[in-house]
Symmetry: C3
């Protein structure tokens, strides 16, 4: 009995401990709960990207005045073929492990974005079935390149060595150069001589698409960053886009004498393209400067380079994707060499160079295959494939 | 004093326990905090649905070329009458308990979606005041049916027995059949003989609406699912929509010889309609197959069935809601019988059958009442009710 | 050794405590994690506001039929000049501390919204460079007023005394009255005599902008409220907008004989303007009533007051911002006197009065400066500044 009292207080303490532990278990929040909430937050970014893919890219391409229904239908088809295909191949892990379900969906959307960029280069010159074939051929090539850049495919680029968070290289430059490859393989003389015209309504629709891209671009770049990086990534993208928009208006006026609506709709977005690689590492000031440079470069591309490019390579790049995604994309990948401290120069340059080579080669091959399926009689017109009353 | 030392260690332990408990309270995160964050996440899905209601449904209906301002104004009015009305009735708990504030708002948005589907069947043939009367009559009927299906109203369908997460039956089929009922009661000979025409601009606006619906449909289906189901529900919906979009393009081309822009704008969405019932239980492969089937069915409805239906019942279904929401909705409800393991066949079939009966009956009555308020002189034209310069 | 057993149980207890503590640390979720998630949720509201700024305000202003490309370009430029400028000045803390990064971005977006309202008053009459100068001059004035109202600038309004959560006064009334000031300083006789015309397409685009504003307005008002207030704030805003939309349709029909599409596109939003000050304190019923009153007031402004105002002050308010943002904004600020219990009457009235004075004075000065940069030859036409094919 004497010893008993020695046990009272300790036992009391033990009970308290157990009550405390129970309370913590009952009241506390598990890290799985947080993981679910974090995944749902990623889901919202995935929806934002979906708005970019359909309404953004889709309407940006409506600037071709007689081809609006076709451009939007092509967008629908390209998204609907590429996302399930990527998701399927990704589930088999053929080109590396793609992460959780929501990560896989976001990566599939990135692939769809790149495909839409490619399609922009040959918009108006493919039949609807050919857009689908383009999608079927593009996705494996895209995943092959992505695997080399981000998943140590063939051990060419070390894991985590290639800096390209928002896809300046892997998404934008790849899509643009793939598209150039297809355009080189496919452009006919008839197509080369047919003017591409816009009007007041097609321009307004195109600017709608542009604005949808601008608005949701922060979520594109922040889609897969860590939760604590989302806000600053988003702010960087907004500043880069602002810089590009201002630079575009100035450059368009200076280079052309008057402002061109297509410059505004397109080159304003070059800030988003170029900030991609360093969107989560740049400072706000750097982001703004990158944006200004990208907007000026892209406008110079539309106003000056495009004519030489088309004449030199005898191709038509319908939407000017080389100016919006090609040049600013490569610029963005190179900027990482300056902005990111401790970057692996070799890996970064190898990644950029390899992507350029793979994209152009794959595009040339794909264009040859598409060529086998024939050509439209008249480019850039709905009526050939759509029942049209007007 | 001798006993004192027996107290030192226990007391020390106690202090530690208390410090620990305090720390947990100070640093730990309560489940209320998580509940708030989860509600805010639901709020974002509610906003996505609002984008579908106004921009999505609204612009989808702009395909009628001379009736755009009216279609958009009608959308504004239908949303603005139905959501407060549902919220008010829901707050009194007349048709069962509707859950938390955000749940009630989302359910109100579901009701508004169903009402907009109904309105699509008679679009262009009601005066603005009649759209409001339609809304006032529709919401109680809708809540009555919802109460029977989901809240054991009259004990007809057991609690949780009827599988319809994303509303294939309760929202889509109900709205479509209610609309058919109204159209049967109301369509005049003049209206029957007036062609409904689209043009390049109205088609592009319509495809804008379609894309807004496509983009945010995942949030519609995932609006009220558990947090851990949001991502997979969203992915299923995207796959179903992709499948429907591909099937629609094929079917439209095969059935008509040329692609019809209205098929693309509408039937592509049938995947979203049909996946509704099983959006959180289907596998990705099942979702894709359901989508393909729904897209094909819906296009067949637009291209073939609609003409027979309109002739047989002497009605006009302006937007073809029977093809987009009716057939694919019922299909979606039936698919649950195959996809969901352990489903209660009786409850599911009773739910589908009862909804069909209630919707048509309520629609017929509502049409008779609307008929008392007269008819427009000329259908499908802004100028009768709007001050128009052009 | 005898004392040893007195240590066994206490030691065991201690070990348990330590294990418990470790468990809690390992499994528990820190408040920093929650702070990150909460910031990401704010980020989504920031993106919603961005959709309002570009697509919403931008397309609402496309109603001027020959000036669509210009209105959208001006929107791009105004957003791209104001957000970085606010963010920069805010980072230096010149006009008070602006909070965390995401808070600063949201406040910058509020400033951009106010600037776009101002621009609406003189839309079509500034050259592109003048929109930029307007932005450069506007932001410091706006921040000066914001600092007085919300950050005790000059000690004129006590901290937290001025009730204006969603910015009825600080954002909407300020922007509208600043715009009136600019219009008074700048409107030429030629501009005064040039009619502002809409057509079916420009009206539909304008209603698109309106719907985008409507849809995302809840996130505008809830952008900076506490997490637990987000849902109710959002619901209040939806109810206020619904009320305003219904009242607008009635009022437009009564006051004009026919409905005016511009009334619907604009005055429907007055509910969002007026609920701003009390969006997180009003009851749902109060929100609905405020919306109805604001919609009626605003439509009365468009249909009746505007003509007198323009004649009396010899100005043109292109978008009628005084009717949409001016009157309903001041109404919203005054309504707080009734709705908010324990409100400081003096502070609220001082805040409203000071904002009115500062806005008009700053607008007059800014207009005089803009006047120095000349006038367009022809107002409301793209062709003067844009390369236009049609």
């Amino acid at each position: 009995m004497k010893n008993l009292k020695h046990f009272i207080l300790p036992t009391f303490a033990l009970i308290l401990v157990l009550i405390g532990a129970t309370n913590v278990q009952a009241q506390g929040v598990s890290s799985e709960t947080i993981a679910v909430l974090t995944d749902v937050q990623k889901y919202y970014r995935a929806i934002h990207i979906m708005a970019m893919l359909l309404v953004g890219f889709g309407f940006l391409m409506v600037f071709v005045r007689g081809y609006g229904r076709s451009a939007l239908t092509a967008t629908f088809l390209l998204v609907s073929i590429s996302i399930p295909l990527y998701y399927l191949i990704g589930s088999y892990g053929i080109f590396g492990h793609k992460g959780s379900d929501i990560d896989k969906m976001i990566l599939a959307e990135f692939a769809a974005a790149s495909l839409l960029i490619t399609a922009g280069a040959v918009l108006g010159r493919l039949k609807m079935q050919q857009y689908l074939i383009l999608g079927l051929l593009f996705i494996p090539f895209y995943m092959f390149n992505e695997w080399i850049m981000l998943d140590e495919g063939f051990g060419l680029v070390g894991k985590g060595q290639f800096v390209d968070t928002g896809g300046s290289i892997v998404i934008h430059a790849f899509g643009a150069l793939f598209g150039l490859g297809v355009a080189i393989s496919m452009t006919t003389k008839n197509e080369y001589n047919t003017p591409i015209e816009a009007d007041a309504t097609s321009d307004r629709f195109s600017m709608l698409g542009s604005m949808m891209l601008w608005v949701f671009w922060p979520s594109f770049c922040a889609a897969l960053v860590l939760p604590e990086e989302v806000v600053m990534t988003g702010i960087n993208v907004i500043l880069a886009l602002s810089g590009a928009t201002l630079a575009t208006a100035f450059a368009s006026l200076k280079l052309r004498g008057k402002i061109d609506a297509a410059d505004i709709a397109n080159a304003s977005l070059a800030g988003g393209v170029a900030i991609g690689s360093v969107c989560n590492t740049a400072s706000p000031a750097e982001a703004m400067i990158i944006g200004v440079a990208a907007g000026a470069l892209s406008t110079f591309g539309f106003a000056v380079i495009q004519a030489y490019l088309q004449k030199g390579l005898k191709l038509v790049d319908t939407c000017g994707v080389s100016n919006l995604h090609g040049i600013p994309g490569i610029f963005g990948g190179l900027v990482a060499l300056i902005v990111v401290t401790g970057i692996n120069y070799t890996a970064q340059l190898a990644g950029i160079g390899l992507t350029i080579v793979i994209a152009i080669a794959a595009g040339l091959i794909t264009g040859k295959i598409l060529h086998l399926f024939g050509h439209r009689k008249e480019p850039y017109l709905d009526a050939e494939e759509f029942s049209v009353e007007d």
